[in-house]
């Protein structure tokens, strides 16, 4: 069921805690958003999963097995701080990185060709990395991450430095990789890509996990039963307990109003009440964005 499970991971450096009892469950074939402010411990957690660091205590299971050096081949990692050898040719560099992951030479060459072709970079294969634009270098790094067909792909801020066109190309590739069976851990603080890509999220702040679960559940949980209404003609009377949070008169007798209703009431009750007083042009529930949840949770934690 879960591709990766982490239980009670602790890691301390000399002067501070990087992770305190962090547990995670990452479902197979999901895109898992690992969120948190800078310095929260995301990178440390990723480095533990990739065996770059060792946890002081706690266990990580991958595919039901306790994490060991053999798992290196089934993990692809694109670090936030990433680079390539400037003086090496594109093809050679990819071959070197693929071989380090244990891929056989001939297979690696074949896959490098396929990927370069797919991302429209085949003619760059014999160029030195330093001759490539930054966006092209990022594509090469992405290819290097997935060449060995890992089960688990870890992308740390994958879109930083990409132009919008390339962001879309890479997004499509990520979705396709998931379709083919890969599980993706996606670490970022850019919430718009979380909204569009992630199925599950976990929020880490100051070494503690403060929130996790399926994205839809979390959003539902953070609903405030607030509705946004555009209408013609004023609202004159509301049921007890209903509260106008914001209202704004637009031209031609048009209004824009936000109303919060008690938790045990449903939108139909509100509609029923409003229909008799005003002409409704738009009615929608205000669902908190991940950004708002993120900010409010982090703030709440600090208080």
């Amino acid at each position: 069921m879960f591709l990766l499970e982490a239980k009670d991971i602790c890691k301390r450096y000399a002067d501070h805690h990087a992770l305190s009892n962090v547990s995670l469950q990452i479902p197979r074939q999901s895109i898992f958003g690992l969120l948190g402010p800078n310095g929260a411990g995301k990178t440390t957690l990723i480095r533990i999963i990739t065996s770059i660091l060792q946890a002081d205590s706690g266990t990580v299971w991958l595919n039901g097995e306790e994490l060991n050096r053999n798992h290196i081949q089934s993990i692809g990692y694109l670090p936030e701080e990433r680079g390539l050898y400037k003086k090496m040719r594109v093809g050679e560099q990819l071959l070197y990185l693929a071989r380090l992951k244990g891929l056989a030479r001939s297979l690696a060459i074949e896959r490098i060709r396929l990927w370069l072709k797919k991302l429209d970079m085949l003619e760059w294969s014999h160029k030195n990395i330093e001759d490539l634009s930054k966006g092209m270098q990022q594509k090469i790094q992405f290819i290097a991450t997935v060449l060995h067909q890992p089960n688990l792909i870890i992308l740390d801020e994958p879109f930083s430095g990409f132009d919008p066109i390339n962001v879309n190309i890479i997004k499509d590739e990520i979705l396709e990789l998931r379709e083919m069976g890969a599980t993706i851990i996606f670490s970022t603080h850019r919430m718009e890509s979380v909204e569009s890509l992630c199925d599950h999220i976990a929020l880490i702040n100051k070494s503690h996990k403060i929130l996790d679960g399926p994205k839809q559940d979390i959003k539902r949980q953070y609903r405030t039963n607030t509705f946004e209404i555009e209408h013609i003609g004023p609202i004159v009377h509301l049921k007890e307990g209903y509260e106008i949070i914001e209202d704004q008169a637009l031209e031609n007798n048009q209004f824009h109003t936000m109303i919060r209703i008690p938790g045990d009431h449903n939108p139909n009750l509100l509609l029923k009440d409003l229909i008799t007083q005003t002409e409704i042009h738009r009615f929608s529930e205000v669902i908190p964005s991940m950004n708002e949840i993120f900010i409010s949770k982090v703030r709440e934690y600090h208080e």
């Binding site: 450096y13 000399a14 480095r47 990739t50 065996s51 770059i52 660091l53 060792q54 002081d56 290196i72 993990i75 990692y77 694109l78 670090p79 701080e81 990433r82 680079g83 390539l84 050898y85 400037k86 003086k87 090496m88 070197y96 990185l97 071989r99 380090l100 992951k101 244990g102 790094q141 290097a144």
Partner: protein
């Protein structure tokens, strides 16, 4: 293990393929050989030119005593000194004018040699020798020694030095031994420095480029470090071997082209000085034969590798601790101190290769590569060599272990100013 080989291969191939490496590897021995060739050539040129010396002998003691040779032709002139001075160059076609006034043979002062340019050392020597011999002869005659007795007295001695080893007697030569010791010490110093710094630069490059985190998610940091160190060692060995082979080829080719079948030493050493019969210095080739080259080369390679592993791992630590080349100075300094001390002490060691300083410095792993190479051509007892190599191996295993522990933390740490305290902390940090 397989993955270390991949790293070794990458480090080796990318470096050997570089244009700067190819140029330096091919050009250095050619430059060196051409320099020697040019010296030999100048020496032969010098030999061909005949110098004419005009002699005015007012004392009458040296009539026909100056023997003309290939290089020096003496002509006698019965003329006034002042007149000869004005015309010895143009009218007489002479290079120098030797004036011998009336002499008191007990105090032979006032002999003068005029020439336009500074006369050659060999010329002066030759003239002085002849004058001294002649005056001595006259004195001997006055004391009643006849010519035959004088001829019998004349003796020439030339020492042949032999080194006595367990393998028997071998011809040895102090100059060649000294030269070999000096050159191999300097060369290993140069190699340790050059390739140690390359390791450091490689580590900085990986850290600065941020490729290191990608790589250590595939292999252990220690594997990456060792792969780099081994790969660069292979580059160093390649360069050394190419140099040895090329120097040999170019030198022998050059000598056969110039038709120098004779001893180059005979050409370099001025024959005006060395012409006394029987007093020949052994030639360069003869000298070279007295040095056990294979032995020197094998020990060179052993000490190069041992010393290199020792220093390279220290240089790798420096590379991992800093963010850029510019920051590396403060850490490089303490590493280079033992190397510099070795070079400074080399003078003492060569003068006293079995002394206390030489012995202890050739045992301490940080100084042993340079110092031991300086001692080897003079002959080192086998047990000393064995202990020194063992200490060196132990030394580099220790430094590599320490380096590995600091390196794995350092390569992932950016942007903090690192001091020795931090390095110690990294060493003890659990991972």
């Amino acid at each position: 293990m397989n993955k270390i080989l991949l790293v070794v291969k990458r480090e080796y191939v990318t470096r050997v393929r570089k244009r700067s490496f190819i140029i330096m590897t091919l050009l250095t021995p050619i430059l060196f050989a051409s320099l020697i060739g040019a010296l030999l050539w100048i020496a032969t040129m010098d030999q061909g030119e005949e110098k004419i010396i005009t002699v005015i002998d007012d004392s009458g003691l040296f009539k026909d005593k100056f023997q003309s040779t290939n290089e020096l032709h003496f002509q006698y002139l019965e003329k006034d000194l002042e007149m000869a001075k004005s015309e010895f160059k143009d009218r007489l076609g002479s290079d120098a004018l030797l004036y011998i006034p009336e002499l008191d043979i007990q105090k032979p002062f006032g002999i003068l040699l005029y020439s336009e340019s500074n006369p050659h050392f060999g010329v002066i020597n030759k003239i002085e020798n002849t004058l001294e011999q002649e005056i001595e002869r006259i004195k001997m005659k006055q004391l009643g020694v006849d010519q035959q007795t004088l001829d019998n007295i004349e003796t020439q001695v030339s020492l042949t030095t032999l080194s006595l080893t367990s393998d028997g007697e071998k011809k040895s030569n102090a100059e060649a031994t000294f030269g070999t010791a000096y050159v191999s010490s300097l060369l290993i110093y140069f190699f340790l420095f050059l390739y140690g710094v390359q390791v450091m630069k490689g580590v900085i490059e990986e850290k600065y480029n941020r490729i290191v985190e990608v790589i250590i998610s595939s292999i252990k940091p220690f594997q990456l470090m060792m792969g780099k160190i081994l790969g660069i060692a292979a580059v160093g060995l390649t360069q050394f071997l190419v140099w040895v082979i090329l120097s040999f080829v170019v030198t022998s080719a050059g000598i056969s082209i110039m038709g120098l079948k004779q001893d180059p030493a005979e050409i370099i050493g001025d024959s005006a000085v060395l012409d006394s019969p029987g007093a020949r210095d052994p030639g360069i080739w003869e000298m070279m034969e007295t040095i056990p080259f294979t032995y020197v080369m094998v020990t060179f390679i052993i000490y190069f590798l041992g010393g290199y592993f020792l220093y390279a791992s220290l240089f790798a630590v420096v590379g991992s601790a800093v963010d850029s080349d510019a920051d590396s100075q403060q850490f490089m300094f303490p590493i280079t101190i033992p190397l510099i001390i070795s070079i400074v002490a080399l003078g003492f060691v060569l003068n006293d290769p079995d002394g206390q300083i030489a012995f202890w410095m050739s045992m301490i792993p940080l100084t042993s590569p340079v110092i031991m190479l300086g001692r080897i051509p003079f002959g080192v007892p086998f047990w000393q060599l064995a202990v020194s190599v063992m200490l060196l191996v132990g030394g580099f295993i220790f430094t590599t272990w320490v380096a590995g522990r600091i390196y794995r933390v350092g390569i992932l740490t950016h942007g903090s100013r690192v001091g020795y305290k931090t390095l110690t902390k990294w060493f003890f940090q659990n991972y």
